[in-house]
Every structure is written in C-alpha cells, then in structure tokens.
Subunit: 273 residues, 2 copies
C-alpha cells in the first residue's frame, strides 16, 4: 500500500485535529486487508530470516500511543510468525530505582538492536517527553532539552548503522472509551484494565499537545515518524507491516557468501572425517 | 504423545549407545506428526498468552546438542506463532572478555525468565561442562565441581518459582555428516557452515562422554533432562512441543481477576469521563 500520506516529513507542522483516527485510506473494508496482512506476514517472516542470516543491518521499531491504542496488538499481529531468535521486544514501564539513577536514555540505549537483530520498543524514550511532561515529573527547562537530545541520540544510532522506524498509533478519545469498556466487561480482558487509565484519560488534551510536539520536533531525516490512524485495527496492522516490509526490502539483503571454497570440506566429510 | 520414555530419571544410568537417534516412537511416518505439531503450536500460542497475562509462572527451556542437532530449528518451528512479547531467546556463544571476568553462571543468571516470561536458552551453562571440558579450558578439578554447582543453581531457580525444562537433542554422527554437507552444498545455507565444525566433529567420542556425564549427573527431581532423538526433525519437534504444552497445561492458569469491582469504572466512562 502507499503509506506516504502517513509519513511525517521533517519540519512538517502537525495538528492532530486534522488527522482522522478512523481513516482507512482508499480501502472500503477489512476483507482485502486480511489477505494483504497474511501476505505481508509471510514476507516479513522471510525478510527477518534474511536479516538474521546476513547479520549486517539492525532494525529498531518504536511503538508509541495512548493507552489502548494497540501497541500490544501490533506486536502480536504484525510480528506473529517471526523467529523469536532475532526479534526482541523491549517494554519500557515505570522506571526502576536503578534506571532512575541514570539519565533517561541509559536504559533505552542498552536495549537497542545488534547486527541482524530486530528490536521492538513497546513505549520508549518518548515517554520522557510525554508522560513525564504531562505529569510534571521534571521541570519544563529539562524536558524541553530532550527533543534535541533524542534527535542526536537517534542520529548516533542511525549513523552507526541502525535503521529507526517510529510509529505513533493515533486513536480517538471515543475509541479509547470503547476499548476500556471492553476491558472492563470482558472477564478475560480484565487483567489489561488499570483504574489509573481513567486518570490518564482526563489528561487527553495535554497528551495530544505533547504528542504534537513529539511529531513536530522529532520527525527527522534519519528517524521519521509515521502517524498511524489506529481506530481500525486492521488498517493499523497493514500500514505498519507495509512500512516494515518495504524497509527490509530496501536493505537489498543477500545470503552471506563464504570467504573460502567449501568444496574441500565436503570432500573431507565424504572421505570419512 | 507419551514422552515418558524420553524423560531421564534422576540417578538413571544413561549409556548413549543404547539410545537410537532415529527413534520415532510408535510413529511410522511424519504425516500425522505434521498435523500434531500444528495442533500443538496453536495450543502453545494460547498457553503462552495465558502465561503472559497471568504473570505468575516463569518457564526456562534449555536446548543443548551437538552442532547441527537442531537447536535453531526447534526455536523456529516449535515457537513460531508465539507472541514475541513474553518469549525471549538467549544464545550463549563464546564468552566475551567481560563474561569471562565473572563466574560462568553470571551471564546465565542474568538471562533467566521473569514472571510471565518464557525464555529459551540456545546452548547454556552446560557448555561449561561440555565444550569447556572437551577442550580442557579449565582443569578437571574445576569442571568436576560444576555439576553440583549447576544442580544447586537450578534448585535456586526452581525453589524461587521457575520451571526448568532441559532438552538434549541426540543426533547420530552420520546424520551430522549429512547436515554439514547440506550446509556446504546449499548456497543459502553456507552462512551456517563453520570450518571449525569439522574440528569439533573429530571430538565426537569426547563430547558423547561429556553429554553422558551431564545426563547422569544433572537430571534432578527439580530440573530433569529429556533425551530427544533428533535425527528426524519432525519427531524432535513434536516431542519437545508436547513436553512444553503439557508443562504449561499443568500450571492450571487462570486469567487474573481484578481485586475490586470494575463496574463503577464502566459507569464513569459511560457518564462521559
């Protein structure tokens, strides 16, 4: 699919009120999307295997979004079928005392991908200019410096060989209500409900302002954001999977070729070694 | 399937010459096994989701075996479909200088599973009584103490709430030859071939003796070994998957129930909060 409309260009001015969370592009319904996702999943599986074999590129996928926006769902649906060897999920929750004793990028840096690896950040360093800002956990003069720090940190990652893809899952306040109600009223989903989610929900406008600043200040040439309409799960999944598959294709990967002729080893084995 | 014949009882005396690597139980062919594995994979997927939701149990799966015995294959085939959030693979390769500066269990301990997590060890601390012993990297009086150290380390893990499953993938020397030849003669598999594998292969009898000691000394009540005939990949996969699925079923997991009545939160949401 053409995901260009959802690419946030550097210095593009984003006003989230102009971005429909239930946008589904030209697609009328989810039927074609189900087939499309299955096709993308198979491609992703094979490309990830190549990423791992070639052991040259590193891919970092950042997932951000409000509670219930679908971060866990993307991990389950988009990445099902990948080889757990070579794909790692790093979830950033409330920092531990030892994490808080360091700068906010310390725990993040330690989780970045190695060669051949794909790492998915479920939340990320962006919480340090989102939740941390909204709850006034640090003064404004501290969090304001972080946009630049984050851009420079990501520049380091990219210049040293990591590809960084960032997805903001954009849902509406109404859709969040429906999803919270579902968590409350479906016993098997109760475990996902946290009463604190209602307090966070009250801060919706503050969060939207904070997300706008993130999108406006940290979508860079080297690590751009994708603004993903996320009210429709099937559209969200196909969009994200498409971006990842196209990115991996762009690596133009090859199976590594041996540095020496291997035939003599086959001969030795056949001779009984 | 009945995997009892492959369970190594504590103090059972194992002579590997009596264990056929191409044993396939009562199964005549792989047809039924393919269906069986698909069924097990679906069960594993759902049980792992429960493990993650309940966030109570911890599962550690240890995979050991000679080169080409199928450790990577098990990870790809048995665990495909699991949610990468909640499943982690730890591969233990030649230790780094910082790892060597510590005791051999240091790097292993740091990778053990947390609550709700399933961790797969691709090789493990057992290399410290296998490769390390066979290559005389430490004196005998050092590695001989390690069986007890390992048993006590695993006892700690188990007493503190981790379930430990250990699988030794048993292949024949002939089957290894075929698999090495395949790696040499299939260009897309060349990357998996390492000329050093031929040197290791020369040490086959020493490795078998070392594996026998591992099975005889470290199959404990709390962390038993399964001796997996691994010449037939389909049998190996079904056996391992069966053991894991049965183990997870035995956890008798339930979706966590909330500590308070959630209905008032639904009412607040419906009232417009």
């Amino acid at each position: 699919m053409n995901f260009d409309p959802y690419f946030v260009r550097p210095r593009q001015k984003i006003d989230l009120r102009n971005w429909e969370p239930d946008d589904t592009h030209a697609w009328k319904g989810s039927d074609k999307a189900v087939t499309e996702l299955a096709d993308l999943t198979a491609k992703l599986e094979s490309l990830q295997e190549q990423l791992y074999c070639e052991s040259k590129h590193r891919l970092l996928v950042v997932l951000q979004g409000m509670d219930t926006s679908g971060k866990d769902g993307v991990i389950r649906k988009v990445f099902e079928g990948v080889n757990p060897q070579g794909v790692r999920v790093a979830s950033f929750k409330v920092p531990t005392p030892i994490e808080l004793a360091h700068d906010y990028l310390w725990r993040v840096h330690s989780q970045t991908p190695g060669k051949g690896e794909m790492v998915i950040f479920n939340r990320s360093h962006y919480e340090d200019v989102l939740a941390v800002r909204v709850h006034n956990l640090v003064p404004e003069n501290v969090w304001k410096k972080r946009y630049n720090q984050i851009n420079e940190f990501e520049r380091l990652l990219v210049e040293e060989g990591t590809t960084v893809l960032k997805f903001y899952l954009h849902i509406s306040r109404d859709e969040q209500k429906e999803r919270l109600l579902e968590r409350i009223e479906t016993p098997e989903k109760n475990w996902k409900f946290n009463p604190g989610d209602l307090e966070e929900r009250k801060l919706w406008p503050e969060y939207m302002a904070a997300y706008e600043d993130v999108l406006n200040r940290t979508s860079t040439e080297w690590a751009p954001w994708y603004l993903v309409p996320a009210d429709k799960k099937w559209f969200r999944n196909v969009l994200i999977s498409s971006v990842i598959v196209e990115t991996l294709k762009g690596f133009d990967m090859k199976y590594p070729t041996p540095e020496e002729d291997l035939a003599p080893y086959a001969a030795r084995l056949r001779a009984g070694e």
